[in-house]
């Protein structure tokens, strides 16, 4: 429904770059892959207490895990089994899940109060790669 609605609303968009009308982009968006999600501390107006960074590329994984699972999806053996069982019983067994396979950390430097400062490492905040599980 969301897609249909967006399509009707998008008359003023440039259709060559529109992911809802461009068939090539639709194909790409369906495949399990890494997508950019930039969280901007600056735009959130947090720069008065978060000294660094300005923001970070959080990323997320999105798309479907369809048969055959190719190398780009980093599919596990279990994901292949899951896909085949799904093909046999699509109503009963779901497809494998498109999820992060590798995550990395970010460091954030911010004021605790007006004089003390903290540099904190946050593990598993950035998606480095996605795959089918």
């Amino acid at each position: 429904d969301a897609r249909r609605k967006k399509k009707s609303e998008s008359t003023n968009w440039d259709h060559r770059n529109n992911p809802y009308t461009d068939s090539a982009m639709q194909y790409h968006s369906r495949t399990c892959k890494i997508q950019t999600l930039y969280v901007s501390f600056r735009d959130l107006q947090w720069q008065d207490w978060i000294i660094a960074p300005d923001g970070y590329d959080a990323y997320y994984c999105s798309g479907e895990c369809n048969f055959p699972l190719n190398a780009h999806m980093n599919a596990t053996n279990h994901a292949i089994v899951q896909t085949l069982v799904h093909l046999v019983s699509p109503g009963k067994v779901p497809k494998p899940c498109c999820a992060p396979t590798k995550l990395s950390a970010i460091s954030v430097l911010y004021f605790l109060d007006e004089s003390n400062v903290i540099l904190k490492k946050y593990k598993n905040m950035v998606v480095k790669s996605c795959g089918c599980h």
Partner: protein, 267 residues
């Protein structure tokens, strides 16, 4: 289509950023609060709203220096310690090791914590607010950083000297009991940062907040020809010195892992 409204953007796979969905003001607040919760920052710190960050002061500058020069994004991207820049704070090999091991590094600005009736003699009293140290963080180490410049006021104070840090135990009736923490030898001809190991003091203050009466710094010429001298007299920068050279304490911490699971349960 690239109008920045929510702070959240989606790459469409063709290196173009397009608005995925415009969120309303209430949703935006909710998303912001969710990200803050995830980072363990549910509330904006006191007295920071609308103020420009005071990054020119020594303590934030030190952490910014570490952030820019001594951190790798992850274990694989981390360059070897000897390839990293020491920056203007003269980071030693031991500092770089502590940085690598730490999940959290905190700096504490020094306060001139005057207690009425306490005789300070010629030494300097430094107090640090360590109340914000999360109790679940394990202390790897702590150091007191003092800036030493070559601007020595009195020629009689030129030469070698010893700086000793004591933890102040009691300040009742003007009497003072001190416990030795660490000492360092220095010479008046060399400019730069001096560090003293104050891990024991930080450990004590975190575990006994009521017993936090700060540190006492005592400076003696190496030949003991003169009695205790004021730190400023041998070139140690104090509270009246340049903002980027004022004394501060840095603590290195490692997470015990308990906090993360607690937050998850809560969420």
């Amino acid at each position: 289509s690239t109008e920045r409204m929510s702070g959240l953007y989606v790459d469409n796979g063709f290196d173009q950023t397009v608005v995925h969905r415009v969120v309303n003001q209430r949703e935006k607040r909710e998303v912001e609060h969710e990200i803050l919760n995830l980072l363990g920052l549910p509330d904006r710190p006191r007295n920071t709203h609308g103020r420009p960050p005071q990054v020119k002061r020594s303590a934030p500058k030190f952490l910014l220096d570490i952030y820019q020069n001594a951190l790798g994004e992850d274990e694989e991207e981390k360059s070897p310690a000897h390839h990293r820049k020491a920056g203007e704070f003269d980071l030693s090999g031991q500092d770089l090791k502590a940085i690598d091991q730490s999940d959290v590094i905190m700096t504490f600005a020094a306060h001139n914590h005057h207690v009425p009736g306490v005789r300070h003699e010629r030494g300097k009293r430094l107090w640090f607010d360590v109340s914000e140290v999360p109790p679940e963080e394990h202390i790897i180490g702590a150091e007191l950083r003092l800036y030493h410049n070559t601007d020595v006021r009195n020629w009689r104070n030129r030469g070698s000297y010893t700086i000793t840090a004591y933890r102040v135990l009691k300040t009742e009736n003007g009497t003072r009991e001190l416990q030795y923490i660490d000492a360092i030898n220095a010479t008046t001809g060399k400019e730069g940062w001096l560090t003293l190991n104050v891990s024991e003091a930080l450990e004590h203050w975190v575990n006994n907040p009521d017993g936090n009466r700060g540190l006492y710094l005592s400076v003696h010429p190496a030949d003991r020809s003169v009695h205790e001298v004021r730190p400023e007299d041998v070139g140690i920068v104090g509270f009246r010195g340049d903002a980027d050279k004022q004394p501060f304490m840095v603590g290195y911490f490692k997470s015990s892992g308990k906090r993360e699971s607690k937050v998850r349960q809560k969420r």
